[in-house]
Symmetry: C2
Subunit: 420 residues, 2 copies
């Protein structure tokens, strides 16, 4: 039997550094050619495995693979496609194993968040039962920073840096114009259920006079009157007020401040518009001039201002995933374990997927100030190392020189077709 090949796929929302993990996986696999055949990457994530639509990464040059480290987005395509439960759609899992068998896939590296950790776990369990055991290793990734066990999630540090830097910069702008122009500036950031990203904005300032003056977390029930009072006071004391609002900010009854009413493939509500709702309150109730920005995808694709720590960790979990697989580990996730805050030190440990899948890590209460509008010193201590360091991509003609892979398809072998 020839050396087993590896399958790698990206899942869920992409980040500025998910390709750095891909780079870690592929480069490490290439260093172990004696034990790993080729690395096949799923076109559009797991869909690529189901439809037998894969790219042969061995056709890419070493230079192109190295460039993944500084290229944002998902180089092979990602997907918001959650496999159903084994009971609900066993056929999907069986199809995965069928494709893996056809292509002699012995390693399954799945790069995503909580949902994909669950898929990864099931693949490892089922492949054994079906007589084609695949070593499944989950490579953590999510800007939401809500995976358990790991100190943080690759992808988050760079969004955190983007949000902190942008808040500091926009605050300087607003502060210098406040006398005659905008008094209240609102920045909407991502974070469906957890306020990690919003919290990162708190790194931009120190003390109550510095922006952001108000952070609206999903974890803290929104009280309109208290909020407006704080904004008013802020404008009185400092002439301006910078508000950072999480897209997931919500009322006590769980209603989002802004609820677009649509749902994505994972069954999550699709949000957007919190900033505008807040802006309207400021205008209608306080009569203050406002502006708002919605960072949306800009924040999670901003490789140009990625955190060096994040890039390093994203690469490291990719590398560790392969090393763990080679060490015979199965059904695990390389987790980042913090060993020291100052100086920041960390190592990679193997977390069992049974303990990772489908668990969300919320912000601890002690990370949010008593008034609910800011971050504590403990939160700062946690977040600060994650945005440390700059890791600039190369530039050409004034623009980042991001790589575009050749994406050579792997010839189909399974002989059957699968309809999603």
């Amino acid at each position: 039997m020839p050396k087993p090949n590896a399958f790698y796929a990206q899942s869920g929302g992409v980040t500025a550094v998910i390709n750095a993990s891909a780079c870690g996986v592929i480069e490490t696999a290439r260093r172990h050619r004696d034990r790993i055949g080729k690395v096949y990457a799923g076109n559009n994530g797991i869909i690529g495995a189901l439809t037998e639509d894969m790219f042969d990464t061995s056709k890419e040059t070493a230079r192109a693979i190295a460039a993944l480290r500084h290229t944002p987005g998902g180089a092979f395509g990602s997907a918001r496609y959650k496999l159903k439960s084994l009971e609900a759609n066993r056929a999907e899992y069986e199809r995965l194993i069928e494709v893996f068998r056809a292509h002699n896939i012995g390693y399954f590296f799945y790069n995503g968040g909580g949902d994909s950790a669950d898929t990864c776990y099931k693949v490892s369990q089922l492949s054994k039962k079906l007589g084609f055991p695949v070593q499944a290793v989950h490579v953590p990734k999510t800007v939401d920073n809500d995976l358990p066990i790991t100190d943080n999630c690759p992808g988050f540090g760079s969004v955190a840096k983007y949000v902190a830097v942008s808040t500091r910069e926009a605050a300087l702008d607003v502060a210098s114009m406040a006398r005659t122009s905008t008094k209240v500036f609102i920045l909407e950031v991502m974070g469906r259920h957890a306020g990690w990203i919003a919290a990162a904005a708190g790194l931009a300032g120190n003390g109550p006079a510095e922006a952001p003056h108000v952070i609206l977390f999903p974890e803290v029930p929104f009280k309109k009157a208290t909020f407006l009072r704080r904004v008013k006071q802020c404008v009185r004391d400092y002439e301006y007020c910078v508000v950072v609002v999480s897209e997931g900010a919500q009322y006590k009854d769980g209603r989002f401040i802004a609820d677009a009413g649509t749902v994505d493939a994972f069954g999550h509500k699709q949000l957007g518009g919190a900033a505008e709702v807040i802006a309207q309150m400021v205008r209608d109730e306080l009569g203050l001039k406002y502006h708002y920005a919605i960072a949306d995808y800009l924040q999670r694709s901003a490789r140009h201002i990625a955190s060096a720590t994040d890039v390093e960790q994203a690469y490291a979990v990719g590398r560790a995933a392969v090393e763990m697989a080679l060490a015979g580990k199965n059904s695990v996730m390389p987790a980042i374990t913090r060993t020291s805050d100052k100086p920041y030190r960390w190592k990679i440990t193997a977390a069992p997927l049974s303990r990772v899948a489908n668990r969300e890590k919320m912000m601890p209460k002690r990370y949010i100030t008593r008034d609910g509008f800011g971050i504590t010193a403990a939160c700062r201590k946690y977040l600060e190392p994650l945005i440390r360091g700059e890791d600039y991509p190369p530039y050409r003609n004034g623009l980042p020189d991001y790589v575009e892979l050749k994406r050579v398809p792997v010839p189909k072998k399974s002989g059957t077709r699968f309809v999603l």
Copy 2:
């Protein structure tokens, strides 16, 4: 009579590099201490002169002044405050001269856009008439890039770079998710009347397949049906569509796509919301999943990704303003004159303010493609050099280390108080 002092003020919307111009003015003045006394900076721009509220920049260290070069926002505060016409409010101009006389101000450096060029012009004219001639030099600045004569306006190149980089990055994100997620991504950028900023997004891609696929310029009347047809076609051909919309995009009859209905101190309509209107069209008429980002102040304060060319030119016009004043020039603006495209070469020349004030430079028709949705090769040739080079600020603890000045007030001398 002692050496004349200089007055410097920032006006209108601030930029990522307006402080680089301040740096150029102050450092150059310091190199000519034999002829220029102190540089006083207006607190909140021209309001600081009217209310005799100024900062003594001589109290700042050389290190702090040098750090202005990499600090966004307006270090002395800017203002949206347009002086009325001489006929409508002669008192304001007379007050300016009164304050200048009290503080022995012989040089007036006004750092702003078209409106402030006009003010600067009037100050030079009136001061002569009132027997206290002040040499007035306008230092160009505006992200809108709409000043005449000068090749481009300091502040624009950095917004252009931010918008081009962000478009490229977000496009990679959207492209990798399009199969199962967002199909249409909309980025709203600034540009009240001129589409220069929107045009800069066009640098992100090459050819019809690359984002941005559609740019909506203020100069091209918006036709809903044509636009939607293009978006649909784009999604069919490339699986996704990136739209960049100028806040000033408008219908044939001049109605803005989004009109907030409010007006700023310069009488300009306050905009915002074009992206959302476009998004709603995409949803309602095409039923496609969309996301939108509104860059708002992030784009003009993004010093972290400033164009090195822009920083250099912003500094250069500040320095040239002082040198022109010392050479006896009056009522002029240092204009950037392009002498070569490839390699990009430029020099500073003196443009008479009578030819600058109150004229807007629109995008030439030949810069927009025939279909109205993209930029031409000529436009690209013009824009490319302006985003060239990176000029990263220093970082501390993962965040840009921007300077905060001491801002030591100048003791009042005029003996009178002026109410705005």
